[in-house]
Structures are given as C-alpha cells and as structure tokens.
C-alpha cells in the first residue's frame, strides 16, 4: 500500500482513498468524525493563480486541543492553516474552494464576514509582528476596534487578563507603555498571543510560532500553548517534529498539497501508516 501511495503521490489523497477503501486494502487513517469537531473541511482546495497548492483536503479539527500540521516546506500546511481565518482572501490571486464548516456553519458562505470571523479565529505568525506601539496598545487594539470595553477600567482589565493568559504579565506589568517592538523575540510572540486572546477568540492558529525563537523562549511558548489548549482550539504549523510530538494531541502530515496521514499524535510518531510520513518524521525526507 505504501508502495502504491508513493508511486502515485501526484494523485490526491482524497481521490485515492475511496478506491483503496473499496479494495479493502487500507484502513482510513484520517479520523473524519469527532464528537467535538470545531472545523469540518470537505474537499478544500487552495489555488494561487493557476497553481493548486492544496488538492482537496478532508479533515476535521477537534475543539479544545492542539492539532499540529507538519510536512516539508511547500506542502501546503500554511495555506491550509490560513483557510480557517480566511487570511488567504488577502493574498492577490488566491482562491479557496470546498467547504469549511466552523461549528457547522460554512465560513466561506456569503453571510460570514471575514473580519468578524478573524475575531473568532485568532492567528499568530512565524515572525513576531507586534504593532510598533506600546505593549498596552498592542493588546488593547483588538478590544478597541471591536468595542469590547466600555470604560478604561474595563479595557485595563482585558489587557491584564490577556497578558496573564499570554504568560507575559509578570514580565511587562511595570512597563506597559514601552514599545512592544522593544521586547525580546519570545516575549514579542507571547505579546502577539495575548493580542489575539484579547478579542476573546475560539480558535488560535499558529504558523510556526517558535521558528524564530531560541530554545528557552520556545520552551516557554510550548508551556503556554499547553495551558491555552484547555480553553481554545489550537491549530499549529510546525517544522519541529519534537515540538509537534510534545504539544499536540492530533497530528496531520501534509505532502505536496495532500493530506497524507492524520491521527493521534502518539500514533503518527510511533507507528505511522504511510511510508512518506515515516520517512519525514525519521528525517529521511523533508
């Protein structure tokens, strides 16, 4: 079976699976049904101009937990991540087709405003991108534009809570007026997380959040992610196998625009079904 998949890896996973199922040769490794699915994706394709970056992904994302998306560069995992908050909309020439349900509601339907969707689905980027404003203003920006606080006291409260949840409060509480860009990389990344938390999202997407951080800052970030998963649905793209293994409950392996394998993290890393997954996590490809 692995032979077959490897030799036909240009064919999309979705196209292949039913056939294999019919032939009774394979157990579907993607768990398509959860009791608590936050997102349900059906045949999601992302095009950049004439290039198809994702070839029809079927995948559910669990609520309250960490789902890791792994795979070699250019495999489409970041494109897939940006499907969930419609950030692909902001890229000229990018087009998303298929169906993405969030709590059963199609987020690509006309009555969903991407602006409000992004308040529900926060995002943290590869490079920390705090606004060139004070730490306070960074966190307060979201609540301000969404009118979440009536008074200054209320806003102060949101800022403090968010910074606490972001694990940054103790480090910055005495210098909230200092520029956010003056913090260290790890602190900046936690500030950005606090900024996302401040608008009270349901989901936090993270696109290689630790790739620009040193091991200590990474460790702190991982602790934080572990705490946040209690209250948020977290989807994280990472290049670090070890990181995915440490922090995620579910792992999805992408390869050349296809979802190759998806399941319990422990299973993916200890007993992958697909040879490509195995090669990748053992470092032979990717």
């Amino acid at each position: 079976m692995t032979q077959l998949l490897t030799s036909t890896n240009k064919v999309s996973y979705r196209a292949l699976t039913p056939e294999l199922e019919l032939m009774g040769q394979v157990n579907v490794t993607t768990e398509t049904e959860f009791d608590n699915a936050k997102f349900t994706c059906r045949d999601v394709r992302v095009h950049y101009g004439s290039l198809e970056a994702l070839h029809g992904i079927d995948m559910n994302i669990q609520d309250n937990g960490v789902t890791a998306l792994i795979g070699p560069s250019g495999c489409g995992k970041s494109s897939f991540l940006r499907v969930f908050n419609r950030m692909n909309d902001t890229i000229t020439g990018a087009r998303v087709s298929g169906e993405v349900l969030m709590d059963g509601q199609d987020i690509y339907s006309n009555d969903i405003d991407p602006v409000l969707l992004r308040a529900r689905v926060g995002m943290v980027f590869q490079k920390p991108n705090p606004f060139p404003k004070s730490i306070y203003d960074n966190v307060a920006y979201g609540p301000r534009i969404h009118g979440l606080a009536e008074t200054r006291v209320e806003l102060d409260g949101i800022v403090e809570t968010s910074l606490r949840k972001g694990g940054l409060w103790e480090e910055v509480k005495d210098r909230l007026d200092d520029p956010g860009t003056g913090l260290s990389g790890g602190q900046q990344q936690r500030l950005v997380i606090a900024r996302a938390i401040a608008v009270d999202p349901e989901v936090i997407l993270m696109d290689e959040p630790a790739s620009a951080l040193d091991p200590i800052a990474t460790a702190k970030l991982e602790v934080l992610i572990d705490e946040l998963k209690e209250n948020y649905c977290i989807v994280i793209v990472t290049h670090s196998m070890a990181q995915a293994a440490r922090i995620s409950q579910k792992t999805a392996f992408f390869h050349m625009g296809d979802l190759v394998e998806y399941g319990e993290t422990a299973k993916i890393f200890s007993n992958p079904e697909d040879k490509r997954t195995q090669d990748y996590i053992t470092g032979r490809t990717g």
């Binding site: 908050n85 902001t90 992004r118 926060g122 943290v124 991108n129 060139p132 534009i145 900024r195 996302a196």
Partner: protein
C-alpha cells in the same frame, strides 16, 4: 597535493595576476566615483559662489538722510488739509528744495536735475507723501527722513559702477560723484540693511523693488497646492495600492501616473489655462489657479512617494491587524499609514519644494504680472518667487542683477528649509514609532 601549499591554484602566478586585475578595477571605479563627486561639488560651489557673490549686495542698500521742510505754500496752499489734495500735492518740489538747500552752489538747470537724481525720486516723494497723508499735522514742519539713494548712486558706492571709466560712458557724472562723496564723508549717505527688499513689492525702480508680493504669492499657491494634492494624492495612492482590483485597467492607470511625473510642467500650465481660466472662469494671475496647476504637477510625485512608502511597510503588520479582526481599511489607516507617514511626508514636501521652484506653468496662467500689491487672498493677483526672478533677470540694469541673485538666495533658503523640515519630520516620526 594537500601537503604542497605552493600548488594551490589560488596562489599561482595566474591567480595573483587576476587578483591584481580585480584590484585595479576597483581602484579605477573608486577614482571615477571621486571624480564625479568632485565635478558635482565644483558645479554646486560655483553656482553658490556666483549667486552669493552677486546677491549679497542686495541685502544692504545706501540711503540718504535729508532734512525736508514741508512748506505749507507748496503742499496745501488753501490750508484745507483735504486728504485728496494732500495726496496729490507736489512732494517732488519738497525733495528738490531740500537738496538745493543742501547744495546751494548748484544753480544751473542740468546741475539741479543731476542733483535730484542722487536720491530715489519716487522713493523719497512717496515716503514723504505717506507720512503727510497719515499725519496731516506735519505740514509746515521740518522733518529728517531717511530715503534710498537712486540705484545708480547705490551701484557706484557698491563699486559696480567704476569711477575710472570716462564720464560719458558712465551713468554717474563727475559732479554727482563729488556730491555723493561729500554726503558719504558727512555721514549723510550710509549703507543700511535693505528692508525694502523684503517688505516691498515689484517696482520699476530697483531700489524700491522687493519680494514680498512674490513670497506671499508663492506661499499661497503652495498652500493651495498642498491642500489639494496631499489628500487627493495620498488617497489615490492608498486606494490604488490597497483596494483597487489588479487588472489591465488599473495597470494602465499606474503607467499613466508614472508618465505624468515626466510630463513637462508647461503642459500643466496649458491645461490650467484651458480648464481653470477659460472653462471654469477663475481669475487670472491668482495664487488659487497657480496652486491648482502646481497641485496637478505634484500629484504624481505624491502618489509615487506614498505608494513606495506603503510598500515599504512590512506586510506582517497588516496581517497582524487583520488577524485580530481589523477591517482592511482599519489595517491601512491604523497601522500602515502611520508607519508610512515619514516617507509620505518627505515625498510630499520634496514635491512641494519642486512646485515652489516651478516657473513655466505659472507663466501660462498669468502669474507673471507686474504686481505692486501684496495679495491678501488667493484670488488677488500675485507674482511667484521664481517668476519674479525670471522677470528681474530680464532687466538690464546692474541693480537688477544683484536683486535677481538675492531672490534666488531667498528661494534656495526656502527650499533648503523645506527639505530640512522633511528630514526633521522623518527622523522625528521614525523615532516615535
């Protein structure tokens, strides 16, 4: 091989030769660079030396202290103190009498005429007329006044009219030189700071000409241009860069904007003449129209500067704003524009400085008139500084040459100040963010 370092290909004679060649290339390039810089600096220094060398003389001017008797019989024979009569009275006579009293020996007609030519005829008469008109009680009194000398005397004392030239080829006669020398020796003629140059308007007499009207006209035109070009230019740039769909049509617009920046300014002047004056019927020679034409000219500069400043802002900032649920327009106005502001301001100020130096389009819309009043509104006729320079440079008298240079110096000072403000704003704003 590894044990024989002399065998390394990087140490062979050919390698060393190549290295020498590369170094020679570098030295040649540096040499040409230095030569280019020296040429540019020499040209600049030459320009500055020649302009300052001629122009500084316009910042001082010789004036004469006179004692005039405001004879009632000459000024107000009816003793009615009627303002209109007082304004039209014969002040020339008063000045002449003052001079004849100073030099009682002069009796012949030609001598008297020459003597009167020592002072600025209209300068002195207007000065006394103004005083009397403001305060009619002065009639009958004796006054001490300080008025400019004629431009010829001024030029003589500044050394621009040479004394060793034969008299018939000199604008100042030997006799006049005698009077002037006596007045200078007595301290009656002195060089003073040329206030008139800054407070006066255009005049037929160089000693009375100033740049006030031109400066005011230029300032007003620039304000109009800025008020129009800045918001529209920045708005257009933001729309084109952030919101406009990317298609053939917007590509076409973009190419045209870039081409507009290269259109000769006189074409904008023609456009202004056809549209603003002939079609819309706006007043001629007015800073309003001048400003509108300059705005047209500055648009492309501001649009191009704004777009490149916007593009220089890291897209991660926009992504950050969008990811917390900011709308596109909020991301642009809350985050991108403030970050692009230093670049936008610098580009706009430099565009404005360019507009300040423009002459051609203003000629087309009539801001080339002989204006003797300081404009009080944007619809009043006015000159502009570069046009004033153009007009003065056309006049043959020596006194105009130095005023032309002085006006250029003022223009350059304003330009340098504007560029300085641009640099200051840039560093200031960048520090804040």
């Amino acid at each position: 091989m590894a044990n024989q370092p002399s065998q390394s290909i990087h140490q062979s004679d050919r390698a060393l030769k190549r290295l020498k060649k590369r170094k020679a290339k570098e030295i040649r390039f540096k040499f040409f660079g230095i030569v280019a810089i020296i040429l540019a600096m020499t040209a600049l220094a030459w320009l500055l030396v020649s302009v300052i060398g001629t122009g500084y003389k316009a910042f001082y001017q010789h004036s004469i202290t006179m004692t005039v008797v405001l004879e009632e019989t000459t000024l107000d024979p009816t003793n009615a103190r009627d303002p209109d009569a007082l304004r039209q009275a014969n002040y020339r006579r008063i000045i002449q009498e003052a001079l004849y009293t100073r030099f009682p020996d002069v009796s012949d007609r030609k001598g008297k005429r020459d003597l009167f030519r020592v002072v600025s005829a209209s300068g002195a008469t207007n000065h006394v007329r103004q005083m009397v008109y403001k305060n009619p009680d002065l009639v009958g009194q004796t006054l001490t006044i300080v008025v400019p000398t004629s431009d010829d005397v001024d030029q003589l004392l500044k050394g621009n009219i040479l004394r060793d030239v034969p008299e018939q080829r000199r604008k100042v006669s030997d006799q006049q030189i005698g009077w002037v020398d006596e007045l200078v020796a007595n301290g009656e003629i002195k060089a003073r700071f040329n206030v008139i140059f800054f407070t006066g308007t255009d005049s037929r007499d160089p000693e009375l000409a100033g740049i006030a009207s031109a400066l005011a006209g230029s300032a007003m035109a620039l304000l109009v241009a800025f008020a129009l070009a800045f918001p529209i230019g920045v708005g257009a740039a933001v729309y084109l860069d952030e919101f406009a769909p990317k298609n053939k049509f917007t590509d076409f617009i973009e190419i045209n904007i870039n081409n507009l920046a290269a259109v000769p300014s006189i074409v904008f002047g023609l456009l202004g003449l056809a549209v603003f004056l002939n079609f819309m019927g706006l007043p001629r020679s007015a800073p309003l129209v001048g400003g509108m034409v300059l705005a047209l000219m500055t648009f492309p500069t501001i649009i191009i500067a704004t777009r490149s400043a916007l593009r220089a802002v890291s897209p991660s900032i926009r992504d950050g704003a969008l990811s917390v649920g900011a709308s596109h327009i909020q991301a642009v106005f809350h985050h991108k524009l403030p970050l692009a502001a230093p670049g936008i301001l610098t580009g706009s100020i430099i565009g404005m400085a360019q507009a300040l130096g423009e002459t051609a389009p203003l000629l087309m819309i009539g801001m080339v008139a002989f204006v003797t009043e300081i404009p009080t509104s944007v619809t009043d006729p006015a000159a502009a500084l570069p046009v004033q320079i153009f007009l003065w440079s056309d006049s043959p008298e020596r006194a105009w040459a130095e005023r032309t240079s002085a006006a250029i110096l003022v223009l350059l000072t304003v330009l340098i100040t504007m560029n300085g403000i641009a640099i200051f704003l840039r560093s200031r704003l960048e520090k804040r963010w």
